[in-house]
Symmetry: C2
Amino acid sequence: MNQKIDNLAKILIEKNIKPSYQRIKILEYLLNKKNHPTVDKIFSDLVKEIPTLSKATVYNTLDLFKEANLTRIVTIENNETRYDAKVSSHGHFKCESCGSIFDFEINIDSFLTDSLEHFKINGKNVYINGICPGCLQKD
Amino acid sequence: MNQKIDNLAKILIEKNIKPSYQRIKILEYLLNKKNHPTVDKIFSDLVKEIPTLSKATVYNTLDLFKEANLTRIVTIENNETRYDAKVSSHGHFKCESCGSIFDFEINIDSFLTDSLEHFKINGKNVYINGICPGCLQKD
DNA sequence: TTTTAAATTTATAATGATTATAAGATAGTT
DNA sequence: AACTATCTTATAATCATTATAAATTTAAAA
């Protein structure tokens, strides 16, 4: 009946995660909005569609997704955790003036040196802060 | 009389920060221990020497240092902010098994692409997670 | 279809890092 | 010494996250 839902469910089942309604909706949200949402943003957006949604469910689900490698935590700020649907490797730029977060392409392996050759690498985060072009122009 | 204290004081004065006893001690701590301490670690270590020390002072001072570019925030975990005395650019590796944090050399500019050419860059963070050699051997 | 058990979701309370506020202490200046 | 601004401290407030237990849903069995 609903092809999209089925595809999302399949993704979850492949990871041994039961495809509950909430989980499908949260996964859909993450795959659609690629703007590193906070838990709060995810919750307040989805609660419009799922009025009974609880913030604990969002936390639980994101934790599940993280374990299953469907989602990664974006390490940008220390006060609010942000999440990304696992996609191609990219870095994050945060503007200190307007607070916007920009993605940028990155050759994720180019900066790895021999010093890590005996380490098992599971994830890479590149985070740059500064002023974005828009805010630079304002000054 | 105390050459070391004088040097630390000078660093602060150059940044227009009044060299109070607490500030000098916190700066000294950061420069000596380069293990990305949390606020809690800094406080509990220093309170032995300065019994009247308040955690609020540690927060205030680190904030001052950050503004003055003496210190940078290490973006590793989201639940506990860690601080580094500003030194040569390096990345951080966190072992998911034992929790240790390793520094590693990086060619900080090699991974910057054209996509950021119109951005003003103030800081760069590279954070990698995985398993360290010691924990790999245990398995 | 009902029953039952397991898993999931929800509401609520607890925790813990950080921030805000105001009172007290300190240092520099006239 | 008195005055003033700054710094430090203690305390309370905030806010994201985690823990807990009850309620609901799901899936399987009878």
